[in-house]
Symmetry: C2
Subunit: 336 residues, 2 copies
């Protein structure tokens, strides 16, 4: 059971988490330089493998039990008509996840990842943040705890995913609160709103910032006031992975926003995460840059569900396979 | 057995190959628009799935038996000191492939692809193209036939890969002959030559073009005069895939050069291929652009062996899994 009952205790737990194993990381780098390939010829794969090595505490990292942890929730701000889809689609899609019919079901199976799905109080949307806080502290902590507990024992790579009509608006509000700028800098078309919908999203984010002045002052208050249950659950799962030294691949705009909350709440707390892909939501690029994250893939995806990051699992697994399975020049008798 | 004994017969066979199944492609597009996701939210994945659908002749494409067909050969031009490695490394690496110790062994296993390895006359390098043709027509046809035969029955996605000390120089010579410009436009550091080595590569390519005037006039003559056995074998495998309507993922600079020969010899003959990744060899970008190919991945890799394209197999498989396995809005009862 997670050992926190308040946001302050959550922050303290995160702040106390150990860093990566620097000696394993160094050993992985040294081994990498002896493998049968021109130096650094595997490019980003080598960086990824060394990064995983540090978090797994071995110079021979492996990805054998990746998990896509999917969370779904409903948002009060959906009442502001900020999505191209009605709010009931969240629950309908949860049934689709459970029946195996969604994109993430196919992608997770394709890359050999377990998919866990957790719906959070779908019949109880968060408060409309244009009017006041989305969640009480108790509600936010409950969602963080659900996420924390979703990290399964044995998971060696975590992808947090989400579904929640209205949640690109919540992510944009979080970005505005934590990264600065105006609402218009962080709002995009999400699942496909028209120009009028885009204007409503900008207005909703601006109103949300006005209605929740504490959001700019404290990242965890921003999560409580502007986030949603699935965003808090992703943050909880990412935090649990940080404490357990499990590497994380962030997905698109909303998943990255959950990571951003942690990175801004406790410096260094997102060091165990990489960006799985560059989402098509325009502001995702700026958010990744603010977090100093370089996406592994860029496939024009804008679905969420953890779908882009789940594909990146295949890249991370291949990177670790090379790091751990390749022969050295000496072993293979190749002239280096 | 491949039905050609001359370059002219090879060209004729390629020119007679049928195109993709346009009705299957259209059916795949129509199905894609009904799947439980916002329209086009899977970005490049949707394009890939529809492309595979056309070549597989079904609206529900699947990747179940991908093959990485690796070819190795030695180059006479290696005598011009154009590589950071001695020529014996080609044979040493073939032993490494056969022992399972190379990067491509790990990557192929990681993505669930079969790896086939074929060494072509390693003790008999091609002629040094700075002095005259690299191959006779008989030698070039023999290599094309070996590649053609390497495509295994049942393969539903082909990645051609290569190993051959000196072969980035051959690929640069092919690019200069077929795409125009000067030698310096197409030469890069390959596996890691220093500035003096780079200058020797430029000089070798320029000399190769001077010594083989027929190379600029005919793409298949360019292959014979400036290519190598592994490059011809990759071209043969890609051509066999074209005739069998098997989609292909090209790897880096040398693999792409093999595809370029076909595309320039017979327009449309590379329509069944996509670029797996953007290699770090600088001229690869220009070559891909000349062929109107947009790389699926960009991971800073520069290894060859089919390694980058093999990782892209995971993307293509996931794309097809979504196309074929997802529920429609109607099936899932989701409000579209």
């Amino acid at each position: 059971m997670p050992d926190f009952a308040t946001l302050a205790e959550f922050r303290a737990l995160l702040a106390a988490a150990p860093g990566c194993d620097q000696s394993a990381r160094a050993a992985a780098e040294a081994r990498n330089d002896t493998l049968t390939k021109p130096l650094h010829a595997l490019g980003r794969l080598e960086e990824i493998a060394v990064w995983v090595a540090g978090w797994q505490g071995t110079d021979r990292p492996r990805i054998e039990r990746p998990q896509v942890a999917l969370f779904a929730a409903n948002h009060g701000v959906a009442a502001q008509a900020v999505s191209a889809y009605p709010a009931e689609v969240t629950a309908q899609m949860v049934l689709n996840f459970e029946a195996g019919g969604a994109a993430i079901n196919q992608i997770a199976a394709s890359v050999g990842a377990r998919l866990t799905v957790r719906a959070l109080d779908l019949d109880r949307p968060t408060g409309d943040f244009t009017q006041g806080p989305a969640m009480t502290e108790a509600e936010c902590v409950a969602a963080l705890r659900i996420g924390w507990e979703a990290l399964e024992p044995g998971t060696d790579l975590l992808v947090p995913g989400e579904m929640g009509i209205g949640n690109t608006t919540a992510a944009a509000a979080l970005a505005t609160a934590l990264l600065g700028g105006d609402a218009g800098d962080w709002v995009g078309r999400g699942s496909g709103v028209d120009d009028a919908g885009l204007a409503r999203k900008v207005a909703a984010v601006a109103a949300g910032l006005d209605a929740n002045p504490e959001a700019r002052a404290d990242p965890l208050q921003a999560l409580r006031c502007l986030g949603g249950r699935e965003i808090a659950a992703m943050a909880g799962a990412i935090a649990a992975a940080r404490v357990a030294r499990v590497p994380v691949i962030l997905d698109g705009y909303i998943s990255t926003a959950a990571g951003m909350v942690l990175a801004r709440a406790v410096p260094g707390s997102l060091d165990h995460a990489q960006a799985g892909h560059q989402g098509a939501e325009a502001a995702h690029r700026a958010m990744l840059a603010a977090l100093d994250l370089d996406p592994i893939l860029s496939l024009g995806m804008r679905l969420g569900e953890g779908s882009g990051a789940a594909i990146a699992i295949a890249v991370v697994r291949a990177a670790c396979a090379c790091q751990s399975g390749m022969a050295t020049f000496g072993e293979a008798g190749v002239s280096g």
